[in-house]
């Protein structure tokens, strides 16, 4: 996979099982976000295959991917800042079945994040960091995905909010959605992950269950600072 003219990810092959929380961890610049962007078609891969639900998806136009059941909650939230919170949620459910289910999905998101219900008519750009992250997750869930990808959901949040966000991610999986998460917050990510991959400078260096990596000496010294 290339990013601009510089190759940042080499020969990465990994899989996520249905109903799992899978995690990609690694230092800043390891290529984690690039992998997610490649899966959702924003970055074109130089070669290789991406298989989702038994079908190759690397040739599908990025704007058609959401209909296959894949949602991507991007890094730094990328909300539509000049639109209200509710309009942002509407944007998450533009296509097909998700559009028909919009009212129900919205009720579900508001139940998950009561704060968003209070702020539904506020411009997304004026929400606090935590509320913005909730809105980004809510917007991702509005498409009724079978797989949802989170890119650095804890970035820039206070520790108490980070805990809330991870609790929500566990809840999302408990309701039947498969989760792929990319994080620098290694400890809390491994604690909830069924399966995890460690990425270093664009290559996969380790894989295992969340718990086994959490006990691993290399992971401890390199990423947990123990």
């Amino acid at each position: 996979m290339f990013y601009g003219d510089v190759q940042v990810v080499w020969d990465v092959s990994f899989s996520v099982g249905r109903g799992e929380i899978a995690a990609l961890i690694g230092a800043n610049g390891a290529g984690k976000s690039t992998i997610l962007k490649t899966i959702s078609g924003i970055v074109k891969p130089a070669g290789g295959k991406i298989i989702f639900d038994g079908k190759e998806i690397q040739h599908i136009e990025p704007y058609e991917l959401i209909e296959t059941g894949l949602a991507h909650v991007p890094e730094a939230r990328r909300l539509f800042v000049e639109m209200t919170a509710e309009e942002n949620l509407d944007m998450g459910s533009l296509k097909g079945n998700a559009k028909k289910m919009r009212a129900d999905s919205k009720a579900m998101v508001f139940e998950l994040f009561p704060r968003l219900k209070e702020r539904r008519n506020q411009l997304a750009g004026t929400l606090s960091g935590g509320e913005q992250q909730m809105l980004a997750i809510g917007r991702g869930l509005m498409s009724k995905p079978t797989l949802i990808m989170f890119d650095e959901p804890s970035l820039g949040l206070a520790p108490i909010l980070v805990r809330d966000i991870f609790a929500v991610i566990k809840k999302v999986r408990a309701e039947g959605t498969t989760v792929l998460i990319v994080e620098q917050n290694v400890k809390q990510t491994l604690a909830i992950a069924d399966r995890a991959y460690v990425l270093a400078t664009g290559k996969l260096v380790m894989e295992g269950t969340g718990a086994s990596l959490l006990d691993d000496e290399h992971v401890k010294t390199a990423y947990l600072g123990v």
Partner: protein, 304 residues
């Protein structure tokens, strides 16, 4: 201030607001295109000129009123805008090595071609549509016998203004209440995030260029009962739209409306109190003052 002086002042402001309403319609098209494609469309005034010639031709050959012609010119301009975007602007946008400035230069070229085509088909003569209501006006004393002031409102100006408000209201409804309209706004705010939501960004660009063109084409029809028409009329309106876009704040629809009204009233005041020929000078004084004192445009003042 005597009552005559007051009448002149109020009359000037009213004319300015009417002019401003049409200016707003002109600038909204430019600001929409600016927001979604991040380029200034310097063929904007020429697209308006095309709209005016369509209305002029419909009037001359079929006796169709310019206000009815809005409903024909706007869809035609929409199609023209989509084609220009798809076959000329998009291929240039796709090439990474070309600077964004080159797309702007391309729009200058499109404008020149349109102006020259108009000269070929209609010659460079000044044209007008001699509608029967051209000089009709409403007087305040017709409605209110004992009014202390006598003000008049030109019929074509007020009808054009009414149409401009109506079109703006429909556009506002489209942009805020429909999924398609929201998708256009989303594309303007964050291209990649819109893609992730399933928005076909390429289609939004074509749609926006078409929409911007149809708005300015409609504005052209509304100007026709008031202004003379000639092939090079577009250039000055491109500049007006550009000044308003800067004045209101790049990419902001509300800014374009406010900017249009401010510029309309300012030009009207300049024409009354300084002299007819000074209106374009006033325009550029505003332009430079905005760049120096409120570089973010009028909308940036509300955000503080």
């Amino acid at each position: 201030m005597t009552s005559v002086q007051l009448e002149v002042l109020l009359q000037t402001i009213i004319s300015g607001i009417f002019l401003g309403g049409l200016y707003a319609l002109l600038a909204i098209g430019m600001t929409l295109i600016m927001g979604v494609m991040k380029i200034i469309n310097l063929a904007h005034g020429e697209l308006m000129m095309v709209g005016m010639y369509i209305a002029y031709a419909l009037f001359s050959f079929f006796k169709i009123d310019p206000y009815i012609a809005v409903f024909i010119a706007a869809p035609v301009l929409f199609g023209l805008g989509v084609l220009l975007q798809k076959f000329l602007i998009n291929p240039v946008m796709k090439v990474d090595s070309i600077l964004p400035e080159n797309q702007v230069i391309l729009t200058v070229g499109i404008g020149m071609v349109l102006a020259n085509l108009a000269t070929i088909f209609f010659s460079s003569d000044y044209r007008s549509t001699p509608v029967t209501y051209a000089t009709k006006a409403w007087y305040i004393s017709d409605f209110w016998k004992d009014s202390p002031l006598e003000l008049s409102i030109s019929l074509p100006w007020s009808v054009s203004f009414f149409f401009a408000i109506l079109i703006t209201a429909v556009l506002w409804f489209f942009l805020t209440k429909t999924d398609l309209g929201k998708s256009i706004r989303a594309t303007a705010q964050d291209n990649d995030a819109a893609l992730l939501m399933g928005v076909n960004v390429m289609r939004m660009r074509m749609l926006t260029f078409g929409l911007g063109s149809s708005l300015v084409g409609a504005a052209g029809c509304l100007f026709l009962p008031i202004y003379y028409l000639f092939p090079d009329i577009g250039g000055q309106f491109t500049l007006i739209a550009f000044v308003i876009t800067i004045l209101g704040g790049l990419g902001s629809t509300v800014g374009a409306i406010l900017g249009g009204l401010v510029l309309g009233v300012f030009e009207s005041l300049t024409a009354t109190y300084v002299g007819m020929g000074w209106a374009p000078v006033g325009r550029f004084i505003i332009f430079i003052a905005v760049l120096i004192f409120i570089p973010g445009g009028i909308v940036s003042l509300f955000k503080k």
